[in-house]
């Protein structure tokens, strides 16, 4: 029971990170119907920007951890958002009216570009970071097993909840959110009623990249080590989460992220850690085959 509870805590933490990335996939899919394959690598770039910003702040003497983390968060969101914007502008916008698989192929190309760019610019070796947020609370003890919830886990879950609440308000209450939902339903009609479609799509990518940067920072703090390749597997899992929750649905992405995080954690805890990626990938296949609309998605009508 204690072991189960501990895994539950770990799973929720991991799931929060997946959820943040999954929103980026689901928003882009909702608005232009493409799988932004490079989104996982945007997350990776975000993690690198966070790492470098943190080191730079330490170097110039900002040593108060809460202040440093807040600044890192702002810098990472800002610069990663520029990356997200650029990727859309360079690789997706010119192909918006092209055939359906064209942007998917440039997205794969972009993913290769980002990975190799970071590898060249920062080196192929893993980048370790000393634990920044330490300590935790012992919840209770059962036999020799102690259930611990660490401060970093609390930080991750609280940050995720705050960011997602803010994001949810942005989507449901503001003009930007309204134009985004309008573009999602009918891009031509939205354009005719005065919505700047190009700007809305750009902002979607900017928002997605910002959330990915938050996830990147949290991932860095949680695992304490990143490399240029983390975006691939994490990206696929986050995409699985988006599909699981019902692609195009933002609450679905949050829910899907949690479920994928839990599945992965429990699989590693009770079965085998080598095959945890197989579990996540099989989950993707099973979900797509048996519930292609996901948990909270709308069924898509095939039109001639």
């Amino acid at each position: 029971m204690a072991y189960f509870l501990q895994q539950l805590i770990n799973g929720v933490t991991l799931g929060s990170i997946y959820g943040l990335i999954a929103i980026g996939y689901t928003m882009v899919y909702g608005i232009i119907g493409m799988i932004n394959f490079a989104h996982g690598d945007i997350f990776m770039v975000g993690a690198f920007i966070a790492l470098i910003a943190f080191l730079a702040l330490t170097a110039i003497g900002v040593t108060a951890i809460p202040l440093a983390l807040l600044l890192v968060l702002i810098i990472a969101i800002g610069l990663t958002a520029v990356w997200g914007w650029t990727v859309e502008r360079v690789a997706y916008r010119p192909l918006r009216e092209s055939f359906r698989l064209a942007p998917l192929i440039t997205a794969i190309g972009m993913s290769i570009v980002l990975q190799n760019f970071i590898q060249i610019a920062q080196g192929a070796r893993v980048k370790p970071l000393q634990p920044v947020v330490t300590g935790g609370y012992e919840l209770f003890q059962q036999g020799s097993f102690t259930v611990i919830v660490s401060n970093i886990q609390i930080l991750i879950v609280v940050t995720t909840v705050l960011v997602m609440t803010g994001f949810w308000l942005l989507i449901s209450r503001t003009a930007l959110g309204r134009s985004q939902r309008a573009c999602e339903q009918d891009r031509l009609m939205a354009a005719l009623s005065g919505v700047d479609v190009d700007r809305t799509i750009s902002l979607t990518f900017v928002l997605g990249a910002g959330l990915a940067a938050v996830a990147g920072l949290l991932y860095l703090l949680y695992y304490g080590v990143i490399d240029f390749f983390i975006g691939f597997v994490v990206g696929i899992k986050a995409f699985t989460a988006a599909v699981f929750g019902g692609i195009g649905s933002i609450p679905g992405a949050m829910l899907g992220g949690l479920i994928i995080g839990l599945i992965e954690t429990f699989w590693s805890a009770y079965f085998s850690i080598e095959y945890k990626d197989v579990a996540a990938f099989s989950m993707l296949a099973i979900v797509l085959i048996f519930f292609p609309t996901g948990l909270l998605g709308r069924p898509e009508v095939e039109k001639v």
């Binding site: 493409m34 799988i35 690198f48 920007i49 790492l51 470098i52 910003a53 080191l55 730079a56 170097a59 810098i75 800002g78 610069l79 520029v82 650029t86 360079v90 690789a91 010119p94 192909l95 092209s98 055939f99 359906r100 698989l101 064209a102 998917l104 192929i105 440039t106 794969i108 190309g109 972009m110 993913s111 290769i112 570009v113 990975q115 190799n116 590898q119 060249i120 610019a121 920062q122 080196g123 070796r125 980048k127 370790p128 970071l129 691939f232 696929i236 995409f239 599909v243 080598e274 095959y275 990626d277 197989v278 990938f281 099989s282 993707l284 296949a285 797509l288 085959i289 292609p292 001639v304």
Partner: protein, 516 residues
């Protein structure tokens, strides 16, 4: 962007503003990830500032964008016009001829500089420019002079003849005249290129003909390679026995994997095939008892010439003893070359034949419109499955060849990047075009290889510059660039397989693809 209403000054101002914006964005992009480098220090990571590099990159963006603005986008006479005219046979005017002449002179000067300094990179730049303009002029002249020659057929026939005679002729010349040509290297490279041509043609059946985007093609390549590796090392079976088994095993896996997923729409299918590709790789990596895990399977027997081994030490009859010629390590390579050439040509022949059969026509029809297909009574599931299995089979055959050539297989060789390279070859060559795929394979794999030899780049960028590192980066940039510039691939026009009356060549833009 070419609005003519602006005055010269207005154009200059708008060009400058635009370039400045681009430079600011470039600065934001690269400030942290390029301007600061993380290095392992004594107490963990430290940062090493690289302001020079950052400024250089930002300056390149600024001036590059400025040049594009002034000479291509915001001018009535873009510099690119004569190069475009070169290929669409519009008449030249004097300005075009001046620009082209200047390009030729520049190319020649670069080439000469390279020769004098011994810098391969200048030579290469010069050759690229000269070839581009020169071949364009030649093609233009030919098309104007003899408009009715079947150029594509001549080109294909020339290519096949070259491929058939290349090793024999170079080998004969070398053994008679001893030029000192690096034949071993050439043969290795051409075998590699042909392997990718075959993989490209195999995947072309799935992506190009049936319109199903398969991101896990390398899984079938792996299945073929491991099938042969395990059968040969565990049961001592020979290459020719294993070849069909490897193909059949891959096809079977294609059916097993394909059956559940083929109901999915295009991009979902892509992601699930990617997931399956990764699953197979992870299983190969962790199922140590059977596959040897990360160590792979070693000691796979080399192919034999119908039972005659290529070896100076083997007991009994060998290839060289049988034909009474002195042993040469190149014999085995030449044999491998013809083996993969035949396998690739068989793939091509089967594809071309299948396209004329009902099933091939069903594939192409399904690519164009799935719903119409179903309304006409075509079983789309079976049609998709047959395309998937056929493509997988050729992947498996190529895998068996790969295993026997390397003598060693490990999961390292079957990563997602390999799938992406094969897919890029198919897409950039122009989906569905056999010729385009072959050209793309030659350009991509050959170009990669050329990059490895531009040691002159080190003279510019410093000693620690490793061109091999930049291969994948350039590859990704090429993938994005060609897709944005020519979404239909390099060879985009193709004749329909079946037509009533005259077969008009249609532009690729009229063919809808990838709605699988």
């Amino acid at each position: 962007m070419a609005d003519t209403g602006k005055t010269r000054d207005q154009k200059l101002v708008s060009a400058l503003t635009d370039s400045l914006l681009a430079a600011i964005i470039a600065f934001a992009l690269f400030s942290l990830v390029l301007g600061l480098r993380t290095v392992d220090g004594a107490t963990g990571l430290t940062l090493e500032p690289r302001p020079g590099l950052l400024l250089t990159v930002v300056a390149i963006v600024f001036f590059g964008r400025l040049a594009l603005n002034l000479f291509v986008w915001q001018t009535q006479y873009p510099l690119t016009t004569p190069f475009a005219k070169l290929f669409n046979i519009e008449p030249f005017d004097r300005r075009d001829l001046v620009t082209l002449g200047a390009a030729l002179v520049f190319g020649a000067v670069w080439f000469a500089t390279g020769l004098v300094l011994g810098e391969a990179v200048y030579e290469l730049l010069g050759i690229v420019v000269l070839l581009f303009v020169g071949l364009g002029l030649l093609r233009r002249w030919l098309v104007q002079r003899f408009p009715n020659l079947p150029y594509t057929q001549i080109f294909i026939a020339g290519g096949i003849i070259f491929a058939l005679f290349f090793p024999i002729v170079t080998y004969a010349l070398e053994s008679v005249f001893r030029f000192g040509m690096p034949l071993r290297y050439w043969f290795d490279l051409s075998i590699l290129i042909l392997t990718y041509v075959m993989l490209g043609w195999g995947l072309n059946i799935v992506v190009g003909l049936a319109g199903l985007l398969d991101l896990g093609y390398v899984a079938f390549y792996a299945v073929g390679a491991y099938t042969f590796a395990l059968l040969a090392t565990q049961f001592g079976l020979g290459f020719w026995v294993c070849l069909p088994i490897a193909g059949a095993a891959a096809a079977l896996w294609g059916i097993i994997l394909g059956f559940p997923v083929l109901r999915l729409r295009g991009d979902y299918l892509a992601i699930v095939t990617l997931a399956f590709g990764e699953i197979i790789r992870i299983v190969l990596l962790n199922w140590t008892e059977v596959t040897g895990g990360p160590n792979g399977v070693a000691g796979i027997p080399k192919p034999t010439f119908f039972g005659l081994p290529f070896s100076p030490f083997a007991e009994g009859m060998t290839f060289s003893k049988f034909f009474g010629i002195p042993y040469d390590g190149l014999h085995a390579l030449i044999f491998l070359y013809y083996l993969i050439l035949i396998l690739a040509l068989v793939t091509n022949a089967v594809t071309l034949r299948l396209r004329r059969l009902p099933v091939g026509r069903a594939w192409e029809a399904m690519r164009e419109d799935q719903i119409a297909c179903r309304s006409l009574g075509i079983n789309t599931t079976l049609t998709k499955l047959s395309a998937f299995a056929t493509g997988a089979m050729f992947g498996g055959l190529a895998g068996a060849f790969f295993a026997t050539r390397q003598g060693f297989v490990s999961p390292e060789s079957f990563t997602f990047i390999e799938s992406a390279i094969i897919l890029a070859i198919v897409v950039l060559g122009g989906m569905g075009s056999q010729l385009g795929v072959a050209i793309a394979a030659v350009v991509m794999v050959g170009g990669f290889e050329a990059l490895r030899h531009t040691a002159g780049l080190q003279a510019i960028f410093g000693e620690e510059f490793d061109p091999a590192l930049y291969r994948m980066l350039l590859f990704g940039i090429a993938m994005v660039g060609i897709m944005v510039w020519r979404p239909r691939g390099l060879v985009s026009a193709r004749a329909p397989t079946i037509s009533l009356g005259d077969a008009d060549r249609i532009s690729g833009d009229l063919v809808r693809q990838g709605r699988g």
